[in-house]
Symmetry: C2
Subunit: 313 residues, 2 copies
């Protein structure tokens, strides 16, 4: 993995992914006590940065590829589905049968065939392998895939292009695909720091211990989109080499960040996409200027209404 | 008023107003049955296009101007306040004492001195004139001001720059400042059509009758930000010369548009800013491609939560 791969992915993304704006608001800066720029990836196609990685991976496939397959109940599913359909490739997404109906419907609407499996009874990986083999589909993993990392890295290139001063860049970190890509893109230019929700800080702990630590639980955070068991095999060495220490925020801070982004930036951020902004707002030890990646905005309307009722002005 | 004035205003706005993105979503287009691009002015500084007109008017004042004054409880107040403070000018905003506390607080936070008046007992215009005279302040009207119209017109220049095909442009129309500016900017290029809420369709009726009609009521719409008694003196002749027929939407359609923008575009639009999108989504007689200006996103969190609860997916 290197800068050239990211630049190549960015070239393939040109005219297809949206160059998202860096938003800010004087009243938000006042609350934070520092200057905050928000890279609004919630405005990306399919509502999250995952479209970048999906497009980068799909567009790197050799001519003659029949189609792709992915396991995801969320943002990766939608990003891969739209990227595949725009390339005229068939796409199968394996989703748990208890996934929210809206997510299933949206993934189908982006042109994918959704295959549901039972979380308790079915072996997802075995099922996926069988389908992939029978139909000749290529598996696109959500973060441990070099082209996916390169695609997410295009966020870093855009940040470097749009902001010339110095800043720390805060990312919402699950498996570390976006964090690794952005860190590579900004190497020697800006320090990237992964942000995680309390109780699911595998990356922060791994960066301290020097080995891939695991989370005790696999669910139970409001930030479900970025809960992964541990940093990826491909991503962790990159994070270890390039990233600053991790930042950890509470679910309460995440929801306050969502409400403040609503009020002052007029964007919709999902909990997993608000972790970096929460750190930017509420961690006192940060420098004067930070760039927080708001990585996605696919949030259930009932949950968002609840957050506004509790944390709104 | 002519294109040159708008271009001059746009030059003064360069680097100060945000060039807002044209957003779209495949799933939104599917619901509408046409291609919809949303000019996301809710992402503008202070959360609405009013910052453009405020900046254009303030930056056109002669050197030595002491300060400005405006009457507004909403978006115009915040736009003028921030524009004035960034120019180092003092700014007085007259607001009714029953205006929402958040709006008063935000206007103050942008650097303005807020003078409250009693809607029932005080004569706002007399009070404003007295303060303006005593302190030597220049009044900035919300729409019947040539520089304000020119500033709002910069939206049209950006649309022409970002979208090369043909489309009708739908605007949220109150006094008609933005509609007039955009129509002038796009003259001979795209047809602009003003959109209004049911019961407050003074502009639509005026365009039919050929004279400035008045609304029966001055309040009572969810779209409070764009409720004005009648089209402006300066704006109406421009609308009459350049605009297509008006479009009228229901409060129900406005709220559905807000919920759909939340879900598919991940932006926050206030009711008055969702009127054009509602028309784009729900008026069958429109062409295949329309550009809807989402003019603002300053909406109370409790109201937004209510809209999501009722109209969310």
């Amino acid at each position: 993995m290197n800068l050239a791969m990211i630049q190549a992915a960015a070239t393939r993304l040109q005219g297809h992914a949206r160059h998202t704006p860096l938003l800010s608001a004087p009243l938000l800066d006042r609350i934070a006590g520092r200057r905050i720029l928000v890279k609004a990836e919630c405005l990306q196609w399919t509502g999250s940065f995952k479209f970048r990685g999906g497009w980068a991976a799909v567009s790197a496939l050799p001519v003659g590829t029949k189609g792709v397959i992915a396991y995801s109940s969320g943002n990766h599913a939608q990003g891969v589905a739209l990227a595949a359909s725009r390339h005229g490739l068939s796409c199968v997404i394996l989703m748990p049968s208890d996934a929210p109906k809206v997510k299933i419907a949206n993934t189908r609407a982006y042109g994918a065939e959704v295959v549901l499996y039972d979380r308790a009874g079915d072996d997802r990986d075995a099922l996926g392998s069988t389908i992939a083999e029978e139909r000749g589909l290529v598996l696109i993993k959500p973060f441990d895939n070099a082209e996916v990392i390169a695609g997410q890295g295009s966020i870093g290139l855009e940040i470097a292009q749009d902001f010339e001063d110095d800043a720390q860049v805060l990312t919402c970190c699950g498996g570390g695909g976006m964090t690794a890509g952005v860190a590579l893109a900004l190497e020697g230019r800006m320090l990237v720091r992964p942000c995680e929700p309390e109780g699911f800080d595998d990356t922060a702990r791994s960066l301290i211990s020097g080995q891939r630590e695991r989370n005790a639980a696999l669910s139970g955070s409001i930030c479900d989109a970025i809960v992964t068991p541990s940093p990826g095999e491909l991503t962790f060495p990159i994070l270890q080499r390039l990233c600053g220490t991790g930042l950890v925020v509470t679910d309460d801070e995440v929801q306050r960040a969502m409400a403040l982004a609503f009020e002052h930036l007029r964007i919709v951020i999902e909990p997993g996409g608000a972790v970096a902004l929460a750190a930017a707002l509420f961690r006192p030890e940060l420098p004067d200027t930070v760039i927080a990646v708001a990585s996605g905005g696919n949030v259930d309307s009932a949950l968002f209404a609840q957050v506004l009722s509790r944390y709104g002005a």
